[in-house]
């Protein structure tokens, strides 16, 4: 899928914490092996039991729009042709407490609502430094 904000728009620099999110092609969440706590964004220590036995696991790839906002002021030259665009906070099914930042795509900017069910879709890109294939999680209306 082409990118919501254009194929030339800012890409993430890959790190050990964000590589699963941006390359796995699934909604991949960090869980604590000791206490089961889910956390997003990932970190090097579990925020619940404070241990460091953490691993990544894919969840179903569905979620709910907790909030959204239409952005009208383009902060980057590449955004001028994309405003208004929708930024959103999505709670992720199967990962209690985890809210992710993203866009709601494949619908109009006026077709997003708080409480709306969404499912993950993935934008394709290539990391310019490592030439790793990126699959950037996005969300589209599920109904």
């Amino acid at each position: 899928m082409p990118r919501y904000l254009g194929d030339d728009f800012i890409l993430p620099q890959l790190t050990p914490n964000n590589t699963p999110w941006y390359t796995s092609g699934e909604i991949t969440i960090q869980f604590c092996d000791d206490c089961g706590h889910a956390q997003h964004p990932p970190d090097e220590i579990c925020y619940a039991c404070h241990g460091s036995n953490l691993s990544f696991r894919a969840v179903d790839g569905t979620g709910t729009v907790e909030s959204f906002a239409r952005v009208h002021h383009p902060l980057h030259p590449a955004l001028k042709e994309h405003v208004p665009y929708v930024i959103a906070i999505i709670s992720i099914d199967g990962a209690p407490g985890c809210n992710a930042q993203g866009n709601v795509v494949n619908c109009g900017a006026n077709d997003v609502a708080i409480g709306q069910k969404v499912r993950a879709v993935f934008e394709e890109a290539v990391d310019p430094q490592t030439e790793t294939r990126l699959l950037i999680p996005q969300w589209e209306p599920a109904e």
């Binding site: 800012i10 620099q13 914490n17 907790e66 239409r70 952005v71 002021h73 208004p84 407490g97 708080i114």
Partner: protein
């Protein structure tokens, strides 16, 4: 109760529109510090401590030599956040002075946004990739505090049935009060409710007039001991209570489910009211850091002023406007209409209200509250007064 440290001087540079300062940021800082120290009736060589914000560019070493300060014994910045550093500087100054680590501490903030760009402009974000920390939002076009606070505000408005009119009321109060303040960048530029609604969207639910300005300028505050203050002509304004607070599991991003939506002020409220023995209704005048209007409403509720369901009536009908307001609020015009010196100018105004020399002076002020920037933990606040 505290009261072991007192404010004896406040000062500022001229406040300019973004890019309008003929002076550099460092020169602006020096001007504000000189003015505040002179206001206290002290000499620059009396200053033995400096406190600023966490990302400051003006080194204490450089300032000390440029200004001819005394031998520095204390330098500090708050631990995180952003605009919350405003009231947090008073927390650090209170700690330093009360414990005797330094006797004359200057808190300052200087900004020359023409010289140094800032986040609201997308500065530094134009490269092709987003580094760790920014990589969770930037690829989605989630780039600024306005957008982050819009997401918090939109959900809170949805949950509590708050309309756009409540946001407008905050901005209108700042503009109305700035018309009384010749220092204000928006002095002589009154705003009507119609102007507000006609202004362009930045990110819904924020119009242009829901957002703080971007300015060049500097502000400074001098804190010392009550004993030292006795020798000065300046009115001494006690720091009655001050606090920073962070609850559990806020995370490093402001969207964790346990707190979303929140401005992180419940812990600040608990400490401020417990330490002072007061409650919101006792406070004569409040300055609330407006990065954006929505977060002000949320922080007002979290500080205990009213319930979210009642906030529209609480701030409506001009109840925040002018020296005789039901709830005297942002009496200098605040970040929205006086100048955006990251809220330190609002702490200055809170002090002036106790001294009785505000341009929008509330009668017989004994308790004056300044609440720091909302939306980024830890929150902060400082309660001043009554004057010694």
């Amino acid at each position: 109760m505290h009261g072991e440290a007192v404010v004896v001087g406040v000062g500022e540079s001229t406040y300019y529109k973004h890019g309008g300062s003929p002076d550099t940021e460092f020169q602006l800082a020096c001007t504000a510090i000189r003015n505040a120290v002179a206001d206290a009736g002290l000499e620059l060589s009396d200053v033995d401590g400096l406190i600023s914000y966490m990302d400051y560019r003006n080194s204490p070493l450089r300032l000390a030599d440029a200004l001819g300060l005394g031998d520095l014994k204390w330098s500090a910045t708050p631990w995180a956040g952003g605009g919350n550093n405003s009231s947090a500087t008073m927390h650090l100054a209170d700690a330093a002075v009360s414990a005797g680590h330094a006797e004359v501490v200057v808190c300052f903030r200087a900004l020359a946004q023409g010289q140094f760009q800032r986040l609201g402009s997308g500065a530094g974000l134009m490269g092709g990739t987003a580094p760790e920390g920014l990589a969770w939002g930037l690829p989605y076009g989630l780039m600024t505090p306005a957008q982050e606070c819009a997401l918090q505000t939109a959900r809170w408005m949805h949950d509590h049935g708050v309309s756009q009119e409540a946001l407008a009321s905050v901005s209108l109060a700042c503009y109305a009060n700035a018309q009384l303040n010749p220092r204000a960048v928006r002095h002589g530029r009154p705003l009507t409710r119609e102007d507000y609604h006609d202004s362009r969207w930045i990110v819904e639910p924020f119009h242009l007039f829901d957002c703080c300005m971007e300015n060049d300028g500097a502000a400074a505050i001098v804190v010392t001991t009550p004993e030292r203050a006795k020798d000065l002509d300046a009115t001494a304004v006690p720091i009655l209570a001050t606090a920073q607070a962070k609850g559990p599991e806020i995370g490093i991003y402001a969207f964790q489910e346990r707190w979303f939506p929140s401005m992180y002020y419940e812990g600040v409220a608990e400490q401020i009211w417990n330490r002072s023995g007061h409650k919101p209704a006792d406070v004569d005048v409040v300055q609330m850091y407006e990065n954006f209007t929505g977060p002000v409403l949320m922080a007002l509720c979290e500080m205990g002023y009213c319930e979210p369901a009642d906030v529209e009536a609480f701030v409506g009908d001009g109840r925040l406007e002018g020296p005789d307001a039901a709830v005297p609020f942002n009496t200098s015009g605040g970040n929205i209409a006086e100048a955006y010196i990251h809220g330190l100018e609002m702490v200055v105004e809170a002090v002036r209200q106790v001294r009785g020399d505000s341009t929008c002076q509330v009668k017989d002020v004994e308790l004056s509250l300044a609440v720091g920037g909302p939306g980024y933990a830890p929150g902060s606040a400082v309660l001043f007064g009554p004057a010694l």
